[in-house]
């Protein structure tokens, strides 16, 4: 491409195309054809014709009539394109470089230059706006399945449930990585391509913008009347004085202005471009911060009963997940004790039982033996310790029970956390007595109790009792008793809340069924044959489960996010525009001032701004008395037609 046509192309890319803002599709295609030169012209005209044909076909009976006029319309379009080309050459460089958006030069015939050529071609495609658009679209499209299909990273249980229910579909989904959409190969491919495209887009644009900052606004086009906003008057001031005044005024309005020849050229609104670049760079920062967070994060859960504590080492966690680059040394040292958990619930109305407050009162220290501090952890208020955050994420009840052997010796005494299974905190769990218990013969044995607990007894439903309210109004504990091997030594991970009854023998009641009893606080179930007893003490503790997470990079994510918003605001709300003021001595010796403005997009603000500047300049270079003032304007308008 020659220098001249480059200029023309970038002009139309930046201005003419922009001005078409809001014109019909096929017209903008006309513009595009004009701007990207001969290569695309053919296809674009075709597209235009296609649209018209469709329109014509759509009306059926009038198709014939349509066919006639279509040609007329096409002629009109061609005329328009021609006039635009004229415009472009007249504006010259004035409109160029008003933005750094890449030109759309659709290289339709592929590359011809071997490997390097291929790479170049590929790179140009990848960093074009069109491909960025397509990638963005794919990204949103690709996110959809992840919101509709259960995701392993979000809820493993749901995924399992899905697998059980869809035996043929699940393997297909597995192949397509649909249970891990956001870490799948194809999703990653989309965003990595977008990421590369983004970088490939930002770097040249930044250079270009830096160049624009160093260079001066382009000189005035030959015919200022061609610009979107224009004004002129004859003044008593000399051309030099008028230009000087214009320069001063423009500078006062914080335009970058300079005098070139018989005119003053000025530009303002560079922050738009800067904002746009900042926004796109901020996206990279966000993405990197997010990726870092994923790789280095750690997240673990811990259930703590009132009165108990936790210290932040790997062994203390109930469950623990971490990113692939996480190192356990990075766990922040701290410990805390749960003093009290408080839950309150709606006591009346249709939302009876809806939780109202959850709060955990804790004491914590950040160094061994250091001073203890008090803190309250609530659902939305985690405790922050040195980059680690402690969240409250669940709670439940832990009835205190005492188990005695046949001789009345206490073999177990403590609070047993039970898992809630419904909104009214009906809970199930297991009480396991692993060592210290001997049966009536003095032989070592283990005891296990299946526990079912309700905080507010609501009666017996079909079989099992149920809870009517989540607070501790009428606690009742039901236990079923077993003995034998709990299977804890089998080496398999064991769920603490479940009783593995395979190697257990049930204690039998009189009817030969499992020995079960519903206990009120203080009541006791005595096991048969002097095997001992279990007592539901008059105390029910609460437990809270905490999630302790560490995610480096979140502050960078925040910085990126804030920068993105700021950049976006700059990019969308700031207008970049140029103003030229020309002052020359007319044929009759009177100075003629011309002012014109050009913006990146057609905006109502530009004429207003020009009017204000013209008003100011006019007060310094007032109109020369001239009865022919009106006719001068007429010629200006006439010249446009």
């Amino acid at each position: 491409m020659s220098k001249a046509s480059m200029n023309k192309a970038s002009l139309s890319g930046g201005t003419a195309a922009d001005k078409a803002d809001g014109t019909a599709a096929h017209e903008s295609r006309g513009t595009a054809a004009d701007s990207s030169g001969a290569t695309t012209a053919g296809t674009d005209t075709q597209a235009t014709a296609g649209t018209s044909t469709q329109a014509a076909a759509g009306t059926g009976t009038q198709a014939a009539a349509g066919a006639d006029t279509r040609t007329a319309a096409e002629t009109a379009a061609a005329d328009r394109a021609a006039s635009e080309a004229r415009d472009a050459s007249e504006l010259g460089a004035a409109g160029s470089q008003l933005s750094t958006a890449p030109r759309e030069e659709a290289v339709i015939g592929g590359p011809t230059l071997g490997l390097v050529g291929w790479f170049r071609w590929f790179w140009r495609q990848l960093t074009s706006m069109r491909v960025a658009l397509i990638l963005l679209f794919l990204l949103s499209l690709g996110s959809i399945p992840g919101s509709l299909i259960p995701q392993a990273s979000v809820d493993e249980l749901k995924v399992q449930d899905f697998r059980d229910r869809h035996e043929t579909l699940a393997p297909v989904y597995d192949k397509l990585q649909l249970f891990h959409v956001y870490s799948s190969a194809w999703f990653s491919a989309i965003y990595i391509l977008l990421f590369i495209s983004l970088i490939g887009c930002i770097v040249p644009r930044t250079w270009q913008f830096a160049g624009q900052l160093r260079s001066r606004p382009p000189g005035a086009p030959k015919r200022l009347t061609r610009l979107p906003a224009y004004t002129t008057w004859r003044t008593t001031a000399t051309p030099e004085a008028a230009r000087e005044a214009a320069l001063a005024i423009l500078r006062r309005h914080r335009f970058r202005a300079h005098a070139t020849g018989d005119a003053v050229a000025a530009e303002k609104g560079y922050l738009r471009e800067a904002g746009n670049l900042i926004f796109h760079i901020a996206l990279i920062v966000l993405l990197v911060a997010f990726a870092t967070g994923q790789l280095f994060k750690s997240e673990g859960g811990k259930l703590v009963v009132e009165g108990d504590g936790f210290s932040n080492t790997l062994t203390q966690y109930d469950d623990f997940k971490s990113g692939s680059l996480f190192d356990t040394d990075e766990l922040v040292p701290f410990s805390f004790t749960l003093d009290k958990f408080t839950g309150t619930y709606e006591r009346s109305g249709p939302q009876l039982g809806t939780p109202r407050t959850y709060q955990a009162d804790v004491r914590y220290t950040t160094e061994a033996g250091g001073p203890e501090k008090k803190a309250v952890i609530k659902v939305n208020k985690p405790l922050e310790l040195d980059g680690s955050k402690v969240y409250l994420n669940a709670h439940g009840y832990a009835p205190v029970v005492t188990v005695r052997d046949g001789r009345g010796q206490v073999v177990f005494n403590g609070a047993v956390p039970l898992l809630p299974i419904d909104n009214n905190v009906s809970s199930t769990g297991a009480i396991k007595v692993m060592d210290g218990y001997r049966d009536k013969n003095g032989k070592k044995d283990q005891l296990g109790f299946a526990a079912f607990f309700v905080p507010t007894y609501g009666g017996k439903g079909s079989g099992q009792m149920f809870s009517r309210f989540p607070a501790l109004d009428f606690p009742v504990l039901n236990v079923g008793a077993y003995h034998g091997s709990l299977g804890v030594d089998a080496g398999l991970p064991q769920n603490v809340y479940q009783l593995d009854t395979r190697k257990l023998t049930a204690f039998k009641d009189a009817k030969g069924d499992l020995l079960k009893k519903t206990l009120l606080p203080g009541e006791k179930l005595t096991l048969p044959d002097g095997a001992g007893s279990i007592t539901f003490e008059k105390e029910v503790k609460e437990w809270a489960s905490f999630q302790i997470s560490q995610q480096p990079g979140s502050s960078w994510a925040l910085v990126g996010a804030v920068a993105a918003i700021a950049g976006l605001a700059g990019s969308l709300f700031i207008q970049r525009r140029r103003i030229w003021v020309r002052a020359v001595r007319g044929a009759d010796g009177v100075t003629v001032v011309e002012m014109a403005g050009l913006g990146r997009s057609e905006s109502a603000k530009l004429p207003e701004e020009l009017a204000e500047l013209a008003g100011t300049l006019h007060s310094e270079a007032p109109s020369a008395p001239d009865p022919a003032d009106d006719s001068a304007e007429q010629t200006v308008e006439g010249a446009e037609k």
Partner: protein, 363 residues
Amino acid sequence: MNLAAAATNESLAQTSNVLIYSAMAVYTLAFFAHIAEWLLGSRSKVARTAAALTGGAQESAAGSVKVQVTNKGGATAVLERPKIITRSASGSRDIPDGPGAHGGDAQGDLYGRIAVSLTVLAWAVEAAGVVARALSVQRAPWGNMYEFNITFSTVAVGVYLVLLALRKNVRWIGLPLITTVLLDLGLAVTVLYTDSDQLVPALHSYWLWIHVSTAIFCGAVFYVGAVATLLYLFRERYETKLATGLKPGSFATSVMERLPASGTLDKFAYRVNAAVFPLWTFTIIAGAIWAGDAWGRYWGWDPKEVWSFITWVAYACYLHARATAGWKGRKAAYLALIAFGCWLFNYYGVNIFVTGKHSYAGV
């Protein structure tokens, strides 16, 4: 928290319901007034757009608006000031905007004005209803979908009225807007109604004020943008038909004739969408910060998060399309509609069909 202090105030809640029903009644009147405006406006048969497109009128409609400079100090020198001549971009159709629903008919215009006045009244009543609801629960009125819906339509109408007050040319949006506001409120009071109540603990946060209020506001503005985009698509087809010499049906002519030019509609839609996009970005980020506090991760691909992200990317697509030659006009408009569709799905679809961490609100 003191439960007694925050006890819901039944009578305020009752008042709120009465106000919302009253607002619906007044909106209905406004709806009929708009219908009258459109019907009476159809009496004027001047085919402006057609004239502009088929030559002849081209001269007078060349778009050279002369702006007179107004002197800040006073108006005395006005005539002395230089006049600004504006010139549309070459290549664009210089079509004047339609006269509005009343079509230049004085009686139609009167009904239009009545409709706007009624809308103002209905809006005031509705806003009072939302405030009463907020007072009755002593918190932000955005705890469930019912509250979300009534606030949403209040904000959408509020945006429209503010634009009107700023003397923007937006009265044409009146009928479609009021129609959908009525649908929205109808849905709210029948299907989505939830008795006024307090929030579950997960919603106790000042981020509720920030995140949800901006979300509602963005939705309302996107909605106004979507209506404009839809009208743009119709109007653009109509203009293309005229430009290719075809004759649109008389009903289409009568309606389209009175709307602003497609260029104006498109620009309006773009401005509205672009203006609110940074706020939508902020909404998502505020949500992420809140999620960081509430759930221990700022981004976890929860369905609501995913759909906010999709909506965001879809609008980013739209903005990119506008800057990319060959994608302006209709194609960009389709993207804008898809983006709004994503927003709608995020709002209704995700709450109803998908379960995630965001499903607390009694739907």
